[in-house]
Symmetry: C2
Subunit: 296 residues, 2 copies
């Protein structure tokens, strides 16, 4: 079943303890859609400039990603530059919105009613405008970041009230709810409407919180790490891609989805850009998921 | 089967965000032995001064802890005072070794050959002197801390070479091995001889590393937290107490032991001093372990 992903598509310049790369494919929707493409039919909604490399378009296509929602606007593609002194937190060196500054996501006809919709990390006002154009979805999920929590928490709350699943970092859930205890914080988000909160904890894995239960998943032990950019987006893409493949939201499928998201995040950090997400096939991804099951 | 625990017994003055308490029972062997007393016959080896409160002696006795190895020396009991600004790291305000300064642990006859021996966090030279007096044990484990890693790493290595199980914090294993990656670091410790390394990660749980496998366990979600002093000692006590009860070191028993240790650490942090470790009975401890199984 189809997964629609709306978010940023950019060109990143990244320096980490493992090296430096320039103008590589990045953005929340790029990581999310390529991770999800291992599992299901993905439809990408976003904007790039006329300088967007044709190799990146080809990559999306070879992954079977539908690009009817990909706008190409005159001007430059969104660019982000950051430096990791350790792998936990990037220092943003520059952000050039370029064509992304005027982005008004428009859902093409084939994206109005699908199985799942992922509102990857973009301005909550844009996430709301996408939700306004949606007809029928079995599942809607959102991600966000500290920048939006500080800038427009009320808009973010409006998004959260309309989605089924919230992806959020450990620090961000504390910031958003004002609660130090992440379990109380997750219950606060569930009280707004969502059925599932996925708390991302970086190298410590993730916690899925639902009304009735917790599910704790460790991060997949992988080394060396090259670049943690996109790990959260890859987690969400793997999680939602697997769920879209399975169709229903049983507890068993949700837990397996956490493991698939965990593996995609680990593959992401093993390489710069999206290279880790396409390095191995489904059989090896399944084997990594089986390892995680054995280790917990 | 019997578990012998050698370590510090002290009176702590602790300030945390949840309050302040003075001259309460503390020390690595106190936490470890009371946690373990939920599961097995414990024999405590340590030293206290003539000011050691009779209530604390009574507490050990009511928990069935054998005190033939508890020396009472003229002078004051070991005292430690610390302050937690958050719950992750204590700032030591004062350490008064008192009678502990000249402690030479002597194993009484009933502690020379037992099922398991836990060398809780004390000077590696003392841990070595205990090992020199040991006759037959099925299982020997040690804990340590950053202070000894910095002061006498070579002595600590001699201890590690002689034990089966090493308990160590995430930061400490990096400090001891000089490796940033904790999985590589654990393999470095296994190469010295131990069969099992237990990496403690505070609120993020623990990882058990053996030659063939990992076992990841989350921390038990508990709040409010009052005082994290002794959490690692309680983890080790619960782990080793459960193993001593079961007798053999099958993978299944080792994994269950991690869960019992996790629950004892959670109970510890729920109260000041050792109060949390004796608050509930075995049936409720078992129920908490079952929760952990359900949540992973």
């Amino acid at each position: 079943m189809s997964l629609v992903i709306v978010g940023s598509i950019g060109l990143d310049t990244v320096e980490t303890p493992a090296g430096k790369v320039s103008d590589i494919l990045g953005g929340s929707a790029s990581y999310g859609s390529i991770a999800a493409s291992n599992f299901t039919d993905v439809r990408l909604v976003g904007v790039v400039g006329s300088d967007f490399p044709s190799e990146a378009v080809e990559l999306f296509k070879t992954r079977g990603i539908d690009l009817q929602g990909l706008e190409v606007q005159p001007g430059k593609t969104f660019r982000w530059s950051g430096k990791y002194n350790d792998f936990n937190q990037a220092e943003t060196l520059s952000t050039d919105l370029n064509v992304f500054a005027d982005f008004q996501p428009k859902l093409p006809d084939n994206c109005r009613s699908c199985h799942s919709l992922f509102l990857a990390n973009i301005h909550p006002a844009l996430q709301l405008s996408v939700l306004a154009g949606v007809e029928h979805y079995a599942l809607v999920a959102c991600d966000t970041m500290n920048y939006w929590i500080n800038l427009c928490p009320d808009l973010l709350t409006q998004v959260i009230q309309k989605v089924d699943i919230v992806f959020i970092n450990e620090d961000e859930i504390r910031l958003y709810t004002g609660l130090d205890n992440i379990f109380e914080a997750a219950r606060g988000i569930l009280a707004l409407g969502p059925k599932v909160v996925l708390i991302k904890r970086g190298e410590y894995g993730s916690i899925m919180v639902t009304k009735d239960s917790y599910f704790f998943a460790p991060a997949y032990p992988i080394y060396p790490i090259k670049d943690t950019t996109g790990a959260g987006d890859s987690f969400a893409g793997g999680f939602l891609g697997y769920l879209a493949e399975r169709g229903d939201l049983s507890e068993e499928n949700l837990r397996a989805a956490v493991r698939y998201g965990t593996v995609m995040a680990a593959l992401d950090v093993s390489e710069f850009s999206v290279k880790g997400l396409i390095r191995i096939g489904r059989d090896k991804i399944d084997a990594m998921v089986q390892n995680l099951e054995r280790w917990t």
